[in-house]
């Protein structure tokens, strides 16, 4: 029934796909940084796609199972060990009472998801279990996990035969990752030189990057006009130009509104790539049209749907 935090990680929070419907009250959406990974983990276990999981950064926690449970790991590769035995991501594992799960080394990526069969037993707030760190509400007591915390797992069917989902979702390491974005209201006001610099430049993810946003370092960018912008809605993936002529990409814990120039918003599927990048990684930004972006998203959704259908056919669980 329970999962004990023997040692906490640097930032472990409960996240589902996010809290939607309340942005107009300033209530930010939160949710998993890598929504694709969360959904894939849930699909593998036969959960609702957006069931809450535990999002872990590295160093990750040491967890002890209080009873047998089926679980999966998705997202980043943190060299997971169950009782010191290495275990794979994107596969169903069954832990027994007193089994210990820990993570030895960050091999690739930044956020790893622990998904348990039927999810964690937690009250939803405004329809979501995502932790709102700024408001200190929801998830596990509105905060990151600490040593001694106990998560309750919903009682589920513990015995599922082992299943490994071979997925193509692991991104190959490349020197710099292209993130595609739909231009925003202020994109066309970039100077000609800045637009070239934006399209051809490489941007480094700086140290002060986190769940709220990624501060980038690259060629300074300027707009043709210097007028004050009034606050308007922004979203996960919105690229803003800050007064220091550098860019910020708003991430999962972003505020609902912003007054800085809006250069564009990154496509949802590329956000899952972005979510696995960290300080020192380098990105390129590629503008795409609305039609192109919609095609990209449709393809990404189709891949997930194919995975889901494939697993259902294998009859790994009864839906």
């Amino acid at each position: 029934m329970t999962l004990l935090v023997r040692k906490s990680g640097i930032l472990d929070t409960i996240q589902d796909c996010g809290r939607f419907g309340f942005r107009r009250f300033g209530i930010n959406t939160c949710g998993a940084m890598d929504a694709s990974a969360l959904r894939i983990g849930n699909i593998i276990l036969g959960n609702q796609e957006c069931e809450a999981g535990l999002e872990m950064h590295f160093p990750a926690p040491v967890l002890e199972f209080g009873r047998s449970a089926a679980f999966a790991l998705s997202g980043a590769e943190f060299d997971a060990r169950l009782n010191s035995e290495p275990i794979e991501r994107n596969a169903i594992h069954t832990a027994k009472k007193r089994d210990v799960l820990e993570f030895k080394k960050r091999i690739s990526g930044q956020r790893c998801y622990l998904i348990v069969k039927d999810g964690f037993k937690l009250d939803a707030w405004l329809g979501s279990k995502s932790t709102n760190l700024a408001a200190r509400v929801s998830g596990y007591e509105g905060r990151r996990l600490k040593k001694g915390d106990v998560l309750t797992i919903e009682p589920g069917k513990p015995s599922l035969h082992s299943l490994r989902a071979s997925t193509e979702f692991d991104r190959k390491n490349s020197r710099s990752y292209p993130l595609r974005f739909i231009p925003g209201p202020d994109y066309r006001d970039l100077t000609a030189l800045s637009m070239l610099a934006l399209r051809n430049g490489e941007f480094l993810v700086r140290k002060n990057s986190n769940r709220m946003g990624y501060r980038l370092e690259g060629p300074p960018l300027h707009l043709l006009y210097d007028d004050e912008k009034i606050s308007a809605a922004v979203t996960f993936g919105t690229i803003q130009l800050l007064p220091d002529s550098q860019l910020i990409i708003l991430m999962a814990d972003h505020q609902t509104s912003g007054g800085y120039p809006n250069i564009g918003t990154i496509t949802s599927c590329d956000l899952s790539v972005a979510a696995q990048l960290g300080p020192g990684d380098s990105i390129k930004l590629e503008p795409v049209t609305i039609a192109e972006a919609e095609d990209i998203e449709r393809l990404a959704e189709r891949e997930i749907a194919i995975l889901k259908a494939g697993l259902q056919m294998l009859g790994a669980w009864k839906s």
């Binding site: 939607f20 419907g21 309340f22 942005r23 107009r24 009250f25 300033g26 209530i27 930010n28 707030w125 405004l126 709102n132 700024a134 408001a135 200190r136 509400v137 739909i182 925003g184 209201p185 007028d227 009034i230 606050s231 308007a232 809605a233 922004v234 979203t235 996960f236 993936g237 919105t238 505020q255 609902t256 509104s257 809006n262 918003t265 990154i266 496509t267 949802s268 609305i290 039609a291 972006a293 919609e294 998203e297 959704e301």
Partner: protein, 223 residues
């Protein structure tokens, strides 16, 4: 006819002006309410801001609205413009303002002297002018329940801090230009702090989680 921009692939901004105006704000709020009342297929939420409203949708569901060859963006845009065409713009609220009691003592108002000095008046006058006004909540944003209110008297206007404070106490009343706001939680913040209230404006336990909604009127009184 609003200016229309995509905000990624799951949202569209409809902009009715580029400045703060009650008229543009009422159009944004009216359209937002109309969409909430009769949501289209795939509608997630609408978020009014000063002079714009952003409509969020689920492209997988909104796909159903498309005519042959249309993108989701086109389909949702047409849908929202139809609703706009059929929406009566609500009149701005004129009834009783929400009263917020404020402690203006120095411990609660670290920037009150700065605001007074900047404008060549004394702190008592700043308080007098500030509490004489009735302010409109144009939008909520930045933090859960944070109200963006305008317009304060230019005689007490003040710019934001160059470097935001790492911690602003919960309940602090802030000024930025001709806007005023209240911090619902302790958080970093760049507005000039001129007082503090004990009134809770973010209510996570309540059925409705915020004290304010766009369109409310607010009055501050000294305690």
């Amino acid at each position: 006819m609003p200016k229309i921009y995509p905000l990624g692939g799951s949202a569209i901004i409809f902009e009715f002006g580029s400045e703060i105006s009650v008229q543009a704000n009422m159009i944004a709020i009216s359209l937002s309410n109309a969409l909430l009342k009769e949501p289209f297929e795939g509608f997630v939420e609408s978020v009014p801001a000063y002079s714009s409203v952003t409509v969020f949708f689920d492209p997988r569901l909104a796909s159903e609205l498309r005519k042959p060859g249309e993108s989701c963006f086109d389909a949702v845009r047409s849908c929202v413009l139809d609703v706009l065409g059929n929406t009566r713009i609500e009149k701005a609220q004129t009834d009783e303002p929400i009263v917020i009691p404020v402690d203006f003592s120095p411990g609660c108002a670290p920037d009150l002297e700065y605001v007074a000095d900047l404008n060549g008046i004394d702190t008592a006058t700043v308080i007098e002018i500030f509490t004489a006004g009735v302010y409109r909540v144009f939008m909520l944003g930045f933090l859960p329940g944070f109200p963006y209110m305008a317009s304060i008297d230019p005689k007490i206007a003040a710019p934001r801090l160059e470097t935001p404070r790492e911690t602003v106490p919960k309940g602090s009343i802030g000024i930025a230009g001709r806007q005023t706001g209240i911090y619902p939680l302790e958080s970093p913040g760049g507005w000039r702090l001129i007082g503090k209230t004990e009134t809770e404006i973010f209510l996570p336990e309540a059925a409705h989680p915020t004290l304010f909604a766009p369109g409310n009127l607010v009055k501050f009184v000294p305690v």
